[in-house]
Symmetry: C2
Subunit: 317 residues, 2 copies
């Protein structure tokens, strides 16, 4: 029996599903002591290990004086990282979003390049104007630009390459990353933007990335570019984006994340014809994926080994 | 100067574009003697080498007594293969469709798995019912079945594998093909169908493939399967397909090819909500692609080497 206290509290919208997945692990050293979908239902004195949605965890961790380790179920951990309480290990779920993210990104890139809506509209055109054979575009030979070239971004590379795309990336200092045709530093964002037929933002939410996608950046994009935001809402200057769409330079903006979520009902993004709102579902972590990450880390925890995907309170991600 | 007669007739809807591409080859041994968009404008006595859309070529080749070689611009060469005249070399354009086809197929597979229409519809839902975060599906771990495992089909494999799909194929005798997780023979089509979450038909148009996709085949598919026909219209029993869609087993049918093209204005496919008509644009050969294939074969022709992509009058493809 390991000497570490393996009493688990689950606090998540998927609490029951997570409990089932974790019970199925048959780990004798682990005991699930609490399982709740609402922060109010947690006895904070009993929290040693916490598996939690970060927006629920943030409501309780400061009262959890026994907390040793919190395994988050999502990528959005900034509120936890900003709390004064930092005397525990916080782990994220890097690695499980890539499979979803690559499908999300290419679903929309192909949707636009193949003009699916144009063909759909022709099905209800007047009878004599249906068979028009509009010529679709292609991803082959075009350039995909990725803002924030981390682990989720790297999952896009094999698919982009399979479609014959060139991939360029941007990170703060333009450090080389495997698999990219070129890397650019934040300071060169306009040079970078000018080369991209499609842009995917995956920048983390730090003070340096707020409003990174601004008028300067957007106006440098080639005409007809598609912009996808699957990182953080704060990275985009909303009005600059709406201007770029209205001035006709951008073909479309596919937005998964927003400064305020749920996106307020009156926000102009909802009704703008060139904005596609995917409601923060681009890379939902399925309970079985989260349970797999937790299981791996639990094993390391019980053996007093360093945990995977530790977040850094200092750096803020 | 080679002793072969290199006088070229171009007969194609893209005649001018093809002429420009071929002129740019700067081949001294080649002379473009005729260039037309309509069969009536061709002097058949002057036809030695013919670069032609096959549906236009079929109107003239029997009168072309000097014809040595016809380079077709499309994949649909059955009408030419069925003519009595077979004393010339007929070459197709295999190899140039794959890049387009893989984008076509995955555009639609991802469109359905990511539920793009559901998110789009929510944008115009009543204000309080917009942010619903519907959970998208995934291609990861699902099985793609390909009917007709030839060269175009093989272009789908790297993309399917990049998305973590399993790929199984079917050809007449179930012969092994590189890159497939399993192969099935035509006789086992129901066993094959039962394993497929998505089906792409790329069978050639032969007597053995007419109505291959029939009630037996369609009823064996798992519920919610997506069917894509990018091969030939004759491979599908239209009424069986409509029945399968109406009985709710199939999620969608994406149809690029039809028994009669243009698809007649009154055909029920146009108005069926689960049918997506892509108007034979899945893999349009761009003039520059056709010119590239022609240039390679011209080089071989002038050097009296066997041409690439020769079609077989006996086998019919």
């Amino acid at each position: 029996m390991p000497d570490r206290n393996a009493e688990l509290t689950i606090l998540s919208r998927d609490a029951d599903l997570l409990k089932n997945e974790i019970t199925a692990l048959n780990c004798n050293a682990l005991r699930i002591v609490q399982c709740a979908t609402r922060a109010d239902d947690i006895d904070t004195d009993k929290v040693h290990i916490l598996l939690a949605d970060p927006d629920l965890a943030v409501k309780v961790v400061e009262q959890c004086h026994q907390l040793r380790w919190c395994q988050s179920t999502w990528a959005g951990n900034k509120p936890l990282l900003q709390l004064a309480k930092q005397d525990y290990t916080l782990t994220g779920v890097r690695g499980i979003f890539g499979e979803k993210m690559r499908e999300y990104v290419f679903a929309y890139l192909l949707h636009f390049s193949r003009d699916i809506d144009t063909f759909r509209a022709l099905e209800s055109a007047p009878q004599q104007h249906r068979w028009m054979q509009p010529a679709p575009g292609t991803l082959q030979g075009t350039t995909l630009g990725i803002l924030g070239a981390g682990s989720i971004a790297s999952s896009l590379l094999p698919v982009a390459h399979a479609f014959g795309m060139r991939v360029i990336g941007l990170n703060s200092k333009g450090e080389a990353q495997p698999g990219y045709d070129a890397m650019f530093a934040s300071a060169d964002k306009q040079t970078f933007a000018a080369k991209c037929h499609a842009i995917v933002n995956l920048l983390p939410d730090t003070s340096a990335t707020v409003n990174f996608i601004d008028e300067r950046f957007l106006s440098a994009l080639p005409e007809g570019a598609v912009f996808i935001n699957a990182g953080r809402g704060s990275a985009v200057d909303d009005s600059a984006l709406l201007n770029a769409l209205d001035n006709g330079m951008l073909r479309a903006a596919v937005l998964d994340v927003f400064r305020q979520e749920p996106l307020p009902a009156s926000h102009p993004f909802w009704s703008h014809p060139k904005v596609w709102v995917s409601q923060h579902t681009a890379a939902i972590s399925a309970p079985e994926d989260v349970a797999r990450v937790f299981a791996e880390n639990l094993d390391r925890y019980l053996n007093a080994e360093p945990l995977h995907y530790q977040l850094d309170f200092e750096r803020g991600y």
